[in-house]
Symmetry: C2
Subunit: 137 residues, 2 copies
Amino acid sequence: MEEGTSKEPSHSCCTEDAFQWDTREDCDVRQILDRIGDKWSLLVIALLDNRCMRFTELKKTIDGISQRMLTVTLRQLERDGLVSRTVYPVVPPRVDYELTPLGVTLHATIQSLVTWTETHQTEIATARARYDAQVTV
Amino acid sequence: MEEGTSKEPSHSCCTEDAFQWDTREDCDVRQILDRIGDKWSLLVIALLDNRCMRFTELKKTIDGISQRMLTVTLRQLERDGLVSRTVYPVVPPRVDYELTPLGVTLHATIQSLVTWTETHQTEIATARARYDAQVTV
DNA sequence: ATTCATGGTTACCTCTTGTAACTAACCCCA
DNA sequence: TGGGGTTAGTTACAAGAGGTAACCATGAAT
């Protein structure tokens, strides 16, 4: 709306010496955030809440995930020690997925993320509508 | 290691009636998680901690982000009402990005995610090493 | 003999993301 | 007067992640 009105930059709010964590692409934190911040891992961890789930159960529950991406995502989470995979040698096959103790500690903070989105979804929807209305003028 | 040993599935741990939130692909929570859980938004929000930053400052700070993806990510965050964009009509241009009040509330939970990764990075590195060793046998 | 169920894998195609070059606007400096 | 520098972008194209659909193995049930 009134973007770029003629106030001068104040320079007062910027470059305060806030704590700056490591953002290098190859650092551990980034590599873990990349895993958490991929398309499906958040969902999987959020769903494995205090219980194990079978492959097909996860697939049915997570709307839109493909069989391939569920396999890939679960393998990555297993590799990171966040999810355990238990194969029972029965026919038809049965594979249970469950959060590890480490995964449980992550679940808590991810749950708070989900809760945040639930709490603020209308605010975001409003913001989006306002932005879109402004742009399409 | 001892995957698929001959224990029978107990059926005891599964399908407890845990609270099941909406995972439909088109629901608000999913759409917001998709934004938060993309490749760069988490990083941007985490960095905009109590201060505004200029475009180039963000670009220099976030290792590996391209100019294009920074633009795209910031526009999406602006659209969602999480980040505000202030253009000063000076030459060379100056654009400040800052968390909105809504963005600040999200920053808190994202910060806890970053803290989690910092706390558990060695555990994850260990798990990865163990997994990789097992697989390459 | 055929069908069904589960938990995958594979080949292929599409859509998102990354790369690199280009632009606009004005200042500085010789 | 004109060449170079600055910032915040945009654009065209290449690379990589993700989606789609078909296939496999196993044995039980019909």
